[in-house]
């Protein structure tokens, strides 16, 4: 993974810059300069990549963020924004000649407004922290990435995080009403608020999922939802991946949108059963967990309907939860899937494409071929409802070339996903990890248009450089328009 060449002159000025930044922030511990303490920030959830940042700055207020960014803008200093550092795509991977701007001190819930069904929170609040603050009143915050105990809402906004309930309740972008943000020149802006529709360009929509490349978010207004009053789940075993996939399509085709619909293939089933003894059937090729949530009358009605569909689709093992304990037991295995894989392999690498659901059998077949080709095992967990597939490639980083083979394996999966009508990333983001594959999904023109948008926010390219886009361009060059004044005529089309 090639990152921009660090600027030795900037690194040489570390102490002077640290002194300047200390003057901009009130707290005595706002700037981290020592080698040891900076090491704590050298990676995120994608631990294969590491870099020690120039400095870490932990501002406490929007004004401090504004002053720090204005300073960086003036001095041409690169900035890597960081929430909780749980990114799986290297979104918070530091730069040796850039500061890490950590938002950890922004950890307060500012307002809970049940009547307008929203909460105003600082970006360092954890995803689960929002739900924890409102669940006593029967509310929750819907997107639930599996890192939700640790990941911050600011990071969720940057990555447009998802979770297992996306199909019914949407991703982060569908659940954020407003933000306060700071541009690289220090300008503070507010977008949206407690109202639903804001006019003008949907800059909020662009900010969500922009991976820290456009601006730094300092406050978030999220939607709160009333917690569904009932939830029940079915645990369905199938003799083939095809029949499980057909069942998913039949459920959706019958007009049913489950709160969660998760699939596991045989290697994943066995790994989790060995680990947590969830009582999963071991004689099936694929397992489906279908959770229906909502008012009890609806849940009971749909449970019956899904059960009938599953039987019609050839399910050989059908269990229906009759209590919350039973429902949670169904989920226990799925939720432990990653650690279960971690138990049977020294390392694993999680891929994140979304594919058209109908292509699942093709994708699984292709992955079996790749598994043979690269000599690496793969287990699959699948957000079957929305088509977001998480192949877990098992490898051992201590073997000389296994990481490289794993990355090639992952890249082949992602390229194939695009080929069959899917995308590179469903919820983990591009970051550094998928950066060099962007060209498989987007043409040069597509990417240049995205880069021009970046220029509208950050003309100097100082925010999170080296992420998302495979090539850096100068904004002036991107903005150039090739026209020949007075020479181009309107084409000779029929006029009316």
């Amino acid at each position: 993974m090639l990152m921009p060449q660090p600027d030795a002159a900037v690194i040489a000025r570390r102490s002077a810059i640290a002194g300047d930044l200390r003057r901009l922030c009130a707290a005595s511990d706002a700037v981290i300069e020592s080698e040891d303490e900076r090491r704590a920030y050298e990676t995120d959830g994608l631990t294969a990549y590491r870099a020690r940042p120039l400095l870490v700055v932990l501002p406490s207020t929007t004004e401090e963020v504004s002053r720090v960014l204005a300073y960086c803008h003036k001095n041409g200093l690169k900035v890597v924004p960081r929430g909780a550092g749980t990114s799986l795509s290297g979104g918070a991977l530091p730069l040796e000649d850039g500061i890490v701007l950590g938002l950890a001190k922004f950890n307060r819930i500012l307002e809970i407004d049940y009547d307008n069904r929203c909460a105003v929170v600082q970006p360092g609040v954890t995803n689960l922290g929002i739900t924890a603050a409102v669940q006593h009143a029967g509310f929750y915050y819907a997107p639930d990435p599996s890192s939700q105990i640790a990941c911050s809402i600011g990071g969720n906004v940057a990555e447009n995080s998802g979770g297992v309930h996306c199909l019914k309740y949407g991703l982060t972008t569908n659940n954020v009403l407003g933000i306060e943000m700071v541009l690289i020149d220090g300008t503070v802006l507010r977008l949206g608020g407690k109202h639903l529709d804001s006019g003008g360009y949907d800059l909020l929509g662009v900010m969500v999922g922009s991976e820290g490349l456009l601006a730094v978010v300092t406050e978030v207004t999220v939607r709160l939802l009333r917690k569904p009053s009932a939830a029940r789940a079915l645990l369905l075993g199938f003799p083939s991946n095809e029949s499980a996939g057909a069942c998913v399509a039949a459920i959706i085709g019958a007009g049913c949108i489950p709160g969660g619909m998760e699939m596991m293939d045989k290697p994943a089933i066995h790994a989790v059963e060995d680990f947590v003894h969830a009582g999963y059937p071991l004689d099936v090729e694929a397992l489906l967990i279908v959770e229906l949530d909502g008012p009890p009358a609806e849940v009971d009605h749909l449970i019956d309907r899904v059960e009938a569909i599953a039987k019609r689709c050839g399910s050989v093992s059908v269990r229906v939860s009759n209590s919350d304990e039973e429902r949670l037991a169904f989920w226990a295995g799925r939720k432990a899937a990653f650690p279960a894989i971690g138990r049977i392999s020294p390392d694993y690498y999680c891929v994140d494409p979304t594919i058209p659901r109908a292509k699942l059998p093709d994708m699984l077949k292709y992955m079996a071929e790749l598994s043979r080709k690269y000599g690496l095992r793969v287990a699959n967990v699948f957000h079957a409802g929305d088509g977001n597939l998480h192949p877990l490639i098992l490898y051992d980083a201590n073997q000389p070339d296994e990481l490289a083979r794993t990355e090639q394996f992952g890249a082949d999966i992602m390229r194939y996903s695009v080929e069959i009508g899917g995308c590179l990333s469903g919820e983990h983001g591009v970051g550094v990890e998928k950066r060099d594959l962007m060209g498989s999904m987007f043409s040069e023109v597509d990417l240049q248009q995205q880069l021009r948008l970046k220029c509208a926010f950050d003309p100097g390219g100082l925010l999170n450089p080296g992420k998302v886009f495979p090539q850096l361009h100068r904004c002036a060059e991107l903005g150039r328009l090739h026209v020949h004044h007075g020479q181009v005529r309107f084409p000779d089309l029929p006029r009316f």
Partner: protein, 392 residues
């Protein structure tokens, strides 16, 4: 004024490139049903994109539909109904409201204006359903954004940016949207005789209940009395149980009746299309605000203006019909809103739409960023210049 009607994407690129070279802006038109919406642009050329029509791909089980931007909305809805699916954001039909009854409302028009109906509170806006698109920028370059799958975070979300941009950034040629199953049954719980504060309180109570309403509106003058309406949708056993539970829940607000499928469909279509105000006289505004702010907002507006109104989105959307104010009521409405929401002038003469800001004026820093965003797509500002904001 000349009108260009490119036959394919290549010709579309040529037209945009020529307008860039000559610096002569284009007004983009498909069905023409929303030509009276937004600022009156008065541009030298018209670009008719009607050729980019037709459903390209529809896979009900994938919940994805792809169609040309100029596809009539009616055609898309017919196709979806046949598979018992829908555009869940409930796109409104404003032709009566805007006096363009004879024109066709198109898919691209609804997306370009980010128009959503009563279900917005539960299922999101048009912007929440656009998955991917193909377009030609104001640089005369064809590009695509997003994809054809329902969960995708690859690259910037340009789909959100183009949705609601009123054609000022790019000419959309093809759009993919997420579609959802249509509800099997609908009931409406109807309360009568509530004043605005009580009505908003009742709607809040209903929306905060576990009965999952998909619509909450208040009509202060529905045939001589006020009606406050909450809609529930879903499978039949579910809507029957929920509508009854909701009626019980709302007892403190008075006795409620429950309306069935047919009455509900008619009622919510009217609310969606602003029918209670569309037939009357007056300048029409649509105001997005925090739901609980609605009563105070309405009382301030009513003190200053001769106005009819109704509420949707549980109070979060106020529709106003203003009579007899020189500025159409812009000053008192925006003063009452106090920057905490967005007031849009939906129906007014071209002269009034040129004289007062149609869209909520932006704070200077947001306006400056918006102008830079415009320039990143359309540096010569040839696409629908002036439609959204002056010079944008």
């Amino acid at each position: 004024m000349s009108q260009y009607r490119p036959a394919d994407e290549k010709q579309l690129i040529d037209v945009v490139a020529a307008s860039v070279a000559n610096e002569e802006p284009l007004e983009i038109v498909a069905g023409g049903s929303k030509r009276n919406l937004g600022r009156p642009p008065q541009l030298p050329h018209m670009l008719d994109v009607g050729v980019f029509a037709g459903i390209r791909q529809y896979e009900p089980e994938e919940l994805v539909l792809t169609a040309g931007a100029a596809t009539p909305l009616a055609e898309i809805e017919r196709t979806l109904v046949a598979k018992r699916q829908m555009l869940a954001f409930e796109p409104p039909d404003w032709r009566m409201l805007l006096g363009t009854d004879a024109a066709n409302s198109t898919f691209g028009g609804v997306v370009a204006c980010n128009l959503s109906g009563p279900r917005r509170i539960r299922q999101g806006a048009a912007r929440d359903h656009v998955l991917g698109l193909a377009a030609v920028s104001g640089r005369g370059e064809a590009f695509k954004a997003g994809g054809r799958v329902v969960k995708n975070v690859t690259g910037y979300d340009l789909c959100k940016l183009l949705t609601g941009s009123y054609g000022t950034l790019a000419v959309m040629t093809e759009i993919s949207v997420k579609v959802l199953p249509a509800p099997e049954a609908t009931r409406t719980v109807a309360l009568t005789g509530l004043d605005d504060p009580r009505a908003v309180a009742a709607m809040t109570h209903g929306l905060n209940s576990p009965h999952e309403p998909s619509g909450a509106a208040h009509l202060p003058d529905a045939g001589g009395h006020a009606r406050t309406l909450l809609r529930v949708e879903g499978p039949l056993p579910s809507v029957e149980a929920r509508s009854q539970a909701l009626r019980d829940e709302l007892k403190p607000f008075g006795a409620a009746e429950i309306l069935g499928d047919v009455d509900s469909a008619k009622l919510w279509q009217g609310i969606r299309d602003a029918a209670p105000l569309a037939a009357g006289e007056g300048v029409i505004w649509r105001v997005s605000l925090a739901p609980t702010a609605a009563p105070a907002f309405l009382s301030a507006v009513r003190a200053a203006l001769d106005v009819d109104y109704f509420l949707d989105w549980g109070g979060g959307l106020a529709w106003l019909a203003v009579r007899g104010a020189d500025d159409g009521g812009a000053a008192p409405i925006r003063a009452a809103l106090g920057g905490r929401g967005h007031a849009t002038l939906i129906r007014a003469s071209a002269a009034l739409r040129a004289a007062v800001p149609v869209f909520e004026p932006l704070p200077p820093a947001v306006a400056a960023l918006s102008a830079r965003v415009k320039d990143s797509f359309d540096p010569k500002r040839v696409l629908n210049r002036g439609r959204l904001y002056p010079e944008i």
